[in-house]
Amino acid sequence: MVESLRFRDATLAKQVAGKIHKLASKKGVIKICHVCGTHEWTITHFGLRSLLPTNLEVIAGPGCPVCIVPASEIDEAIQLALKDIAIVCFGDILRVSGSKKSLLDVKAEGADVRVVYSVNDAVEMAEKESHKDFVFFAIGFETTAPSTAVEVVEQPPKNLGFLVSHRLIPPAMKLLVEMKDLNLSGFIAPGHVSTIIGLKPYEIFPRHYRMPTVVAGFEPLDVLFGVYMILKQLSEGKPSLENEYVRAVHSEGNVKARVLMREVFEVVDGNWRGLGKVPSSTLKLRGKYTNYDARLRYGVKVDGGVDIRPGCKCHLVIVGKIKPTECPLFMKACTPQKPLGPCMVSMEGTCQIWAKASELI
């Protein structure tokens, strides 16, 4: 299917860039925010910013699910690991620092920390090693939370617990749109999160905040047409919600996944690294599943947590207030090989994406 389609056609890209320039020339400063690490990768890797007019800025919001996990929750995972429990996690979170250490640090000191591709791997490990306690560190946005829900609802082995740290994207977008100093003109909504949640959760942005919002896919042309659609709405003065990624996103989302998420999780307030407390943005296991809640099962208790190390500007990069290159540590004291902040640790962090792209030039 992919070969026969023209999702990366350079001629089309130049044509749509021309349209973007024409519309933007009638406007002052335009600031469009996306909230997905994969969008940032597409934009940076394909050099899309170089095609855009100088008065149009595309900024990266808190779209890296690893970067926004607060230090306190990594501290919780570390505390569990030190209790001789095997921590099972995605690879990206391994090197992200908690208040003092990362999971990789405690692994190097002998703790049992295992990297997997999927929550299902954690279930299989717990089945095979029934004498040992396992905890799956369940991070990720709405794209990932349904897979945790699939396994929890199927009543996995009792020696497997869940440290749930899933976060929801629309409440963070609400926080961004209300930051007056950010002064956003429009949102590119995240395509893969939207395959699950559908379009409805974004309706508030054009309706209440008059913020053009376009769900876009991840090919370079998807992003460019997303930008064009936002500019068109701005020029017509009619902010609305549009879906550019119709081949994957249906307006109702993935109903099966949403039903499962609602069955397993309730929504509570939660802290995000770089953003602080975001109301109604975090998932927690519902009462009937609390026997799988690792925090309750093992009596996990941690204090506040240190999210941002001295000198690190990740809290400003995460909300798009500065570019990675505006951080004095970028590619000096903080590199992909020796990252200081979470935005440089994760492959979906804005700093690492910018660092890797600069290596290509």
Partner: protein, 78 residues
Amino acid sequence: MVIAMCLAIPAKVLDIKGDRAQVDFGGGISRDVNITLVDAKVGDYILVHAGYAIQVLSEKEARETLLLWNEILEAADA
């Protein structure tokens, strides 16, 4: 296999056994994924995230996207 948290990769369904499917990511990479969350059949393209299919991709709508893009580009007013 890239493990990125908000990345989802398209793959073609080769075979289905219960809630598991063998899928082809292209480039010689195939693996077993969970399809509980979607109604997929052999031959469909699905989006896979962290070992779970999260949506079935529509070829019809992919083609419609290209038509829409062409319409936008051909429109004289913008």
